[in-house]
C-alpha cells in the first residue's frame, strides 16, 4: 500500500519532469499537429493521402536532420553550415550523372563520389570551427552562405556537358533544376513500396534512413562515439581525460557534412530533381528546427529527437496547406512554417545550456 503511493508520487513527479523537459513550444506543436489530423477528415481532406504525404516527406528529409546529430554531440552547436554538406552531395549527384551512370547505380555512385568532397570540405570546415570555438553557429551560417554563392559560380564554370543537364542554348553551365527521371528518381521510395488504397509507404527510403540511423546509434556506442558525447558535454573534462578535443570535433563535422551530402541525395530521389544555385541556401534552417522540435537542445540530441522532430515538422508542413485551405480558404502554411521553425530555433537559443556551451 505504502509502496504503491510512493510509486504513484514518483510517477507523477516523473510525468511532471517529462513534461518540463518536453517544453511548452513542443507541446503546442504536437497539439497543433494532432488537431490537424483530427480536423482533416472533417474539412474534406483525405487522411490516407495526407499520411502518405507526411511519410513521404519524412523519408526525404530525415537524413538531413540526422546530419545535425554528430555536431550537436561534439558541442559544435547546431549545424547551420549544412549547405556545405549539401554542396558535396550536389557535386556527387551532378558528377554521377555526367559520368553517365543511370538508374539505381547513379544513386550509389553519387554517394560514393560525394564522399571525398564531404571529407575534404568537412575537414576544412572542422578546422575553421576549431579555430573559433564559442562562435560556431554564426560562422557556420556564413560558411554555408559563402560556399553556396561560391558554387553558384562553379556550376556555371565547371565543364559539365551532358545535354540534359546544361543550358540548351549555351551548351554549358548547369541548369537550375535537373530532372532525375531515368536516373535515381524514386529509387529508394519504390523499393519494396507498400500500397494500400490511397496509402503508400516508401519502405526502401525508410529503410535507408533506418540503416543510417542505426549506424549513427552504433557509432555513439563505440569508444570514439563516447568520446564525442563527452566532448560535447564538457570539453574540459574530455581534455583532462586525454581526448584530442579538436580531432573529435573534426570527426563530428566530417560526419555531419557527409550525412548532409547523403541527405540531399535522398531528398533528390524523393523530389525527383536536382536543385542547384541558390536552392541549398536556406536548407539548414528547416533541418535545424526539425531536430529542435524533436526535443534536442543546442548541445544534446538523439536519434529519437530526429525521428519525432522530422515527423512533427514535415507533418505540419504537409498538413497545414490542405487543412487550412479547405477550412478558411487561406493558404497560410508558408507563414506558419516560417514562424514555427524560426520560433523553435529562437526558443532553443534562449535556453540556458547547462555546463559547457
Amino acid at each position: 500500500m505504502n509502496e504503491n503511493t510512493l510509486e504513484k508520487r514518483t510517477f507523477k513527479e516523473r510525468a511532471k519532469e517529462a513534461l518540463k523537459d518536453f517544453g511548452l513550444p513542443r507541446l503546442i506543436i504536437t497539439g497543433f499537429l494532432l488537431l490537424l489530423f483530427i480536423l482533416a477528415p472533417f474539412v474534406g481532406a483525405d487522411l490516407p493521402t495526407q499520411i502518405t504525404n507526411t511519410i513521404n516527406r519524412f523519408s526525404w528529409n530525415a537524413v538531413m536532420v540526422l546530419a545535425m546529430v554528430p555536431m550537436v554531440h561534439s558541442g559544435c552547436g547546431l549545424n547551420f553550415g549544412l549547405p556545405l554538406g549539401i554542396i558535396s552531395g550536389l557535386l556527387g549527384a551532378t558528377l554521377s550523372l555526367q559520368f553517365g551512370f543511370t538508374g539505381p547505380l547513379s544513386f550509389l555512385m553519387a554517394i560514393i563520389i560525394s564522399t571525398p568532397f564531404a571529407v575534404v570540405l568537412g575537414s576544412f570546415y572542422g578546422w575553421l570551427l576549431n579555430k573559433i570555438k564559442g562562435g560556431e553557429m554564426m560562422i557556420a551560417t556564413y560558411v554555408g552562405f559563402s560556399s553556396v554563392s561560391f558554387m553558384c559560380m562553379m556550376w556555371l564554370l565547371l565543364p559539365y556537358n551532358k545535354p540534359d543537364m546544361v543550358w540548351g542554348m549555351a551548351g554549358k553551365g548547369l541548369r537550375t533544376t535537373i530532372s532525375l527521371e531515368g536516373y535515381y528518381s524514386q529509387v529508394l521510395a519504390s523499393f519494396l513500396q507498400i500500397n494500400i488504397g490511397n496509402l503508400s509507404i516508401p519502405v526502401g527510403a525508410l529503410l535507408f534512413f533506418a540503416l543510417l540511423a542505426f549506424l549513427m546509434w552504433a557509432f555513439l556506442h563505440t569508444k570514439t562515439g563516447t568520446a564525442m558525447t563527452a566532448v560535447g558535454s564538457n570539453p574540459t573534462f574530455a581534455k583532462a581525460a586525454g581526448i584530442n578535443v579538436d580531432k573529435v570535433r573534426m570527426i563530428s563535422v566530417i560526419m555531419s557534412t557527409w550525412l548532409g551530402a547523403c541527405g540531399i541525395l535522398v531528398y533528390e530521389q524523393g523530389f525527383g530533381f536536382i536543385q542547384l544555385y541558390m536552392a541549398p541556401f536556406y536548407m539548414a534552417l528547416p533541418a535545424v528546427s526539425a531536430i529542435l522540435i524533436g526535443g534536442a537542445s543546442v548541445n544534446k540530441a538523439s536519434i529519437t529527437n530526429v525521428i519525432i522532430g522530422t515527423f512533427l515538422f514535415q507533418g505540419i508542413v504537409t498538413m497545414t496547406p490542405t487543412v487550412m485551405n479547405n477550412m478558411i480558404h487561406m493558404d497560410m502554411s508558408e507563414v506558419i512554417r516560417i514562424i514555427v521553425s524560426n520560433g523553435m530555433i529562437l526558443y532553443a537559443l534562449t535556453r540556458r545550456t547547462e555546463g559547457a556551451k
Binding site: T222, A227, A230, S233, N234, A241
Partner: protein, 531 residues
C-alpha cells in the same frame, strides 16, 4: 577631532553561517577615523566573508543574511546592496580589477558618477541623455589622483596600463567619492612591484592623515607593521588577536594565523621510508605555468616513490598551477621527468598514458560530466586511455562500449567509497558536493595510476565526507603503493595526511618540510615570498 567616544566603525557580535556551516562567530572590533587597520589570516579564516558583510554584498543576503550589528558613527546600519554601503561612506577595492578596459583612467574613476550638463533632449528622454562634462571629469579625476599621492596618467587607457596603475586607478575611484570615510583594500599589493607597493603604503598614510579610515588586508605582513595602527588576526571565523601594530612582530602574527591546539594534530605514522632511500619518481624542473590567478614560476620539485606529498600555500600563490600545468590543462613550460622518462607538457594524453592521474579542484568544470551518468563519469578516462570496458568486434575494428563491465566497476566504487546515489545511472549533477568528489576519485582510481595528483580534495564538502575522502586517499597510497601529490589550502589537512609538505609562495616553492613540523614554520613559509 570629533567625538572620541564614538568610533567611525564598530562591528558587534557578527555571526554568519553558510547553510549551517559557521564561518564567522562573534566578531568584534572598532575603528576610529583615520585609523589604519591591518587584517590578516589564512585563506578561509573568514576575512572575505566579513568584508562582504561590511560592504553589503548580495551574496550575504542571498545566503540568509548575518547576525550582529554594524555601527557607523554610532548609528546602526543595514546594507541591502553595496550601493547602500557606498552611500554610507564605505569604499572597497576588490582583488579582481573592476575596470572597463577600453576607458581612460578618468572615465573609470568616475564610472557611472560622471558630472554632466543638461540639455533639452534630456528633459524628454530622461537624465541619461545629458552630456558628459569632460572638463569637470578631468578635474575630479585629477583631484582624486592627487589625493592618492601617486602619479598616474588620467588619460591613459586601462588596457595599456601596467598592472600597478590599474590598482591605483581603482583606489582613485574610491577616493573620488566625496562621502568616503572608510576604505577597504583587499590584497591591494598582491599585483604591485615593490616600488609601487611602497607608493601605495605612502598613499595609505596620506589617506589616514586626511581622516579616512582604512582596512588593509594583505599577506605581506611587514606591510601591515609598517603602515597600520592596529592589527586584527583571524582564524577559523574568530578574531584571535586585536592588537596595536607597534606591539607585535611578523613571527608572532604568523603564529596566530596558523596556530592550533596541539592535540588537534593527528598522530603521525612513521613515514614508510626514510628520506633519501626512496627513488625519485617524478622530477619537476624549472616549471612555469600560465594559469590565471595561480601562476607558477620556476618551480623545481622532486617527488619520491610511494609518498604522499602535500603542496600547500595561500590562495593565488600558484599551488594549483603545478598539477594543472603538468597535466596539460594550462599552458606550461619547463621539464618534467617521470619514472626516468620525460613527459611532454601541454599534452594531457601523454601524462595519462604514463599512468599519471589527476583529480581536479574544479569538480564541476573539469572533473565531471555533469549531464551524464555516474557510469560514464567513472569509466570514461579508463575507457579512452586504457581501452578498458570495451568489447571488440570485427577484429578490433569496432570497439563497443561494454555497458555491463562499466556498471560493475561503477558499483564497485559506489560501495567502496560509499557514494550516496540512487544508482549507477544517476546523472552526476544530482549528487551532493562530497559525493561528486568521491566520483572524481573513483574516476582516477579506475585508471589504476602509478601517480596521482589530487587538487583540493576537500573543498566545499562536509566534515564526514572529508574524512572519508582523505582516508580513501591514504588507503589508496598505502595499499596500492601509489604516489600521491595532494594540493590543499588547509594546512592541517595536509599535516594529517601527508609525509612531506611543500609550501608554495609567490609562484615558487618556498620550502619543503616534514609534516610533523610545527604549524608556525609552515606559516612563515607561506608568507615568505607573497607577491
Amino acid at each position: 577631532m570629533g567625538n572620541e567616544q564614538v568610533p567611525l566603525l564598530e562591528v558587534r557580535n557578527i555571526k554568519k553561517d553558510f547553510f549551517g556551516n559557521q564561518v564567522l562567530s562573534d566578531i568584534n572590533f572598532t575603528l576610529k577615523e583615520g585609523e589604519v587597520l591591518g587584517f590578516c589570516g589564512e585563506n578561509g579564516a573568514g576575512k572575505s566573508t566579513l568584508m562582504k558583510i561590511l560592504f553589503g554584498m548580495d551574496v550575504i543576503r542571498e545566503t540568509g543574511g548575518y547576525e550582529g550589528d554594524i555601527l557607523i558613527n554610532g548609528e546602526k546600519m543595514n546594507f541591502s546592496t553595496p550601493f547602500d554601503a557606498i552611500h554610507a561612506g564605505i569604499g572597497m577595492v576588490h582583488q579582481e580589477f573592476s575596470l572597463i578596459p577600453g576607458f581612460t583612467a578618468t572615465e573609470n574613476i568616475l564610472l557611472n558618477r560622471e558630472p554632466r550638463k543638461g540639455n533639452i533632449v534630456a528633459e524628454i528622454f530622461g537624465d541619461r541623455l545629458t552630456t558628459l562634462n569632460y572638463k569637470e571629469m578631468k578635474e575630479k579625476a585629477d583631484a582624486a589622483i592627487k589625493k592618492m599621492g601617486v602619479e598616474i596618467s588620467a588619460d591613459m587607457v586601462i588596457n595599456q596600463m601596467p598592472v600597478g596603475h590599474k590598482q591605483f586607478t581603482e583606489i582613485a575611484r574610491e577616493l573620488s567619492k566625496d562621502e568616503l570615510k572608510l576604505l577597504i583594500l583587499d590584497e591591494p599589493t598582491a599585483v604591485l612591484t615593490e616600488k609601487e607597493a611602497e607608493a601605495l603604503l605612502d598613499s595609505i598614510r596620506g589617506m589616514s592623515r586626511r581622516g579616512i579610515a582604512v582596512i588593509f588586508i594583505t599577506h605581506r605582513l611587514h606591510e601591515i607593521l609598517s603602515v597600520c595602527d592596529k592589527v586584527v588576526v583571524m582564524r577559523d571565523g574568530l578574531v584571535v588577536k586585536d592588537i596595536p601594530a607597534k606591539d607585535t612582530s611578523v613571527p608572532e602574527i604568523t603564529r596566530w594565523m596558523v596556530g592550533r591546539n596541539v592535540d588537534n594534530e593527528a598522530a603521525k605514522e612513521e613515514p614508510v621510508k626514510k628520506k633519501g632511500e626512496a627513488k625519485v619518481i617524478m622530477s619537476i624542473q624549472k616549471l612555469w605555468v600560465d594559469m590565471p590567478g595561480e601562476t607558477v614560476r620556476n618551480v623545481s620539485l622532486d617527488v619520491e616513490e610511494g609518498e604522499i606529498l602535500g603542496i600547500g600555500g595561500l590562495a593565488g600563490q600558484g599551488k594549483l598551477g603545478i598539477p594543472n600545468g603538468i597535466m596539460g590543462l594550462y599552458e606550461a613550460g619547463g621539464k618534467v621527468i617521470f619514472d626516468g622518462k620525460e613527459i611532454p607538457l601541454n599534452n594531457p594524453r601523454k601524462c595519462l598514458d604514463a599512468s599519471l592521474a589527476f583529480v581536479s579542484e574544479d569538480r564541476r568544470g573539469v572533473g565531471l560530466l555533469l549531464d551524464e551518468s555516474l557510469e560514464w563519469n567513472v569509466a570514461f578516462p579508463a575507457m579512452q586511455i586504457q581501452n578498458k570496458f570495451l568489447k571488440k568486434y570485427l577484429g578490433g575494428l569496432v570497439q563497443w562500449r561494454d555497458e555491463q563491465a562499466i556498471r560493475q566497476v561503477t558499483e564497485k566504487y559506489i560501495d567502496e567509497l560509499q557514494i550516496k546515489c540512487m544508482g549507477s545511472k544517476q546523472s552526476a549533477k544530482e549528487l551532493s558536493g562530497g559525493n561528486q568528489q568521491k566520483v572524481c576519485l573513483a574516476k582516477a582510481f579506475a585508471l589504476e595510476p602509478k601517480f596521482l595528483f589530487v587538487s583540493e580534495p576537500t573543498r566545499g564538502i562536509d566534515v564526514g565526507a572529508k574524512a572519508l575522502v582523505l582516508n580513501a586517499l591514504k588507503k589508496f597510497n598505502r595499499e596500492s603503493g601509489v604516489t600521491v601529490v595532494m594540493i590543499s589550502s588547509e594546512l592541517e589537512e595536509l599535516r594529517q595526511t601527508c609525509d612531506r609538505i611543500a609550501i608554495v609562495s609567490g609562484g615558487r616553492i618556498a620550502g619543503i618540510l616534514p609534516a610533523a613540523q610545527p604549524s608556525e614554520e609552515f606559516g612563515l613559509l607561506m608568507v615568505s615570498q607573497v607577491r
